[in-house]
């Protein structure tokens, strides 16, 4: 019995400690951000790695989701004679929810794991320690540019995801099924607000960018410096990022769209 209580206490302490550890890490990272802005070349190189190289995956996923959404919504709306709001339904689901969330999940899988593995291996190869020996703080030189690049890339990827999704929906609905193109676009233009819907979607994507990149960097930086440790850290990156994104999304949605 006492062992059970002991285990519970240990688990709680470990959770709280790692949370505090993560928070300190995050604050440290924020402190290094202005410095990394001055070496913008490093950030640009990371945007290439994190953002540009994720394009194919994000665009393909957006196109597929847009097409499927249009098809399914068409079947659902036909019995009500409400096919003209097909564009609106697809647009709002993409811009408000699916765009930021699915992009963040894919981003965690595509870019987050790469970040964790890269930094974990740097640590295992003692490159980070070598930097410290040369009085270069690896958090400023290695982590901060990646963090900044992640925050910058996420909203762009989410916007592209939504835009491509809407184009995919347009292709399926207007070109293949034959929905009236004028009502497809005008239903969106009448009901989708640039600031409330598109703007909040971008804010969401930015928050997810902070979460995904932050978790990926933390896991990489704090990993056990062994091949096994890096493997665990990579897995944890995906799991924690996805859970954090889903939970945050619910809170953000409740805050942003409660009074419509």
């Amino acid at each position: 019995m006492i062992e059970l209580v002991n285990a519970l206490g240990q688990a709680t302490l470990r959770a709280v400690t790692s949370l505090g550890h993560g928070a300190f890490f995050f604050v440290d990272l924020l402190r290094f951000l202005p410095g990394s802005l001055r070496r913008f070349g490093l950030v640009v190189a990371q945007i290439y790695m994190i953002g540009y190289r994720s394009l194919t995956l994000i665009l393909a996923a957006g196109l597929a989701v847009g097409c499927v959404l249009a098809l399914q919504m068409y079947y659902a709306l036909v019995p009500f004679g409400a096919v003209e709001s097909l564009g609106l339904v697809v647009n709002l689901s993409l811009v408000r929810e699916l765009g930021p969330v699915v992009t963040a999940l894919l981003f965690a899988g595509r870019a987050g794991t790469a970040l964790t593995a890269e930094i974990g291996l740097m640590k295992a190869g003692e490159q980070l320690s070598a930097m410290e020996l040369m009085a270069v703080d690896p958090r400023g030189r290695v982590l901060a540019p990646r963090f900044l690049a992640g925050i910058f890339s996420m909203p762009i990827l989410a916007i592209l995801y939504s835009a491509v999704g809407i184009l995919g929906a347009w292709f399926i609905a207007v070109q293949l099924i034959g929905v009236d193109p004028a009502s497809f676009w005008s239903s969106m233009q009448g009901k989708v607000d640039v600031f409330r819907d598109v703007g909040n979607g971008i804010v969401k994507a930015g928050v997810f960018g902070v979460i995904c990149t932050g978790i990926a960097l933390y896991q990489g930086y704090e990993t056990q410096a062994t091949p096994e440790g890096v493997a665990y850290a990579t897995t944890r990156t995906v799991v924690y990022s996805s859970l954090a994104v889903l939970a945050t999304d619910f809170i953000l949605t409740a805050m942003m769209f409660s009074t419509s």
Binding site: V44, Y52, I156, I159, S162, V164, Q189, V198
Partner: protein, 171 residues
């Protein structure tokens, strides 16, 4: 050289993002309607505005010509005061009438403007005098039930006198 091409590709990435944002804002959201051409304002009072909302379209012959900008209650007449903006290029005669209509059975409500025959046109700030309120489904149903009840009531009263007469009156 490798550095240069990285920067170019990042530029392409950011450019794509900007294009997508412009597409979302202009084609798939309402930004275009903010920068629309000049509009003039007209007012109309309705006994009942039904489910009309701000930003609802104003249409004439089904073509969208403007939108509703504010809905308030007129404190003196207890009518709904609807202020709408109509595109400058579209002019209506001063005796035009406004109706609150519904797009389809379950669709949204909008203001329909039916042009009159006056030589003068509506100007900025003018009031549309002839209006027709929204059709409220509950009132319609109430009216139907009331009529049925009235029929049944008169039929019931006449029944003791002559059954044949009441059936005759129904025809």
């Amino acid at each position: 050289m490798a550095k240069k091409s990285t920067e170019t590709l990042v530029g392409v990435f950011v450019l794509l993002g900007i294009i997508a944002l412009a597409f979302l804002a202009l084609k798939a959201a309402n930004l275009a309607s903010f920068s629309a051409a000049k509009q003039y304002e007209v007012r109309a009072r309705f006994d009942n505005i039904g489910g009309l909302k701000k930003n609802a379209p104003v249409r004439s012959a089904g073509v969208s010509v403007g939108q509703v900008t504010s809905i308030t209650l007129d404190k003196n007449t207890f009518q709904g005061l609807v202020i709408m903006k109509i595109n400058e290029g579209v002019q209506f005669p001063a005796d035009s009438s406004a109706k609150i209509l519904t797009a389809g059975l379950l669709g949204d409500q909008y203001v329909g403007i039916e042009p009159g025959a006056d030589d003068k046109n509506l100007k900025n700030g003018d009031l549309i005098k002839q209006t027709q309120s929204a059709v409220v489904l509950e009132n319609l149903i109430g009216q139907l039930i009331f009529n049925k009840a009235a029929d049944a009531g008169s039929g019931g009263a006449a029944a003791p006198a002559a059954d044949a007469a009441s059936t005759g009156s129904k025809k």
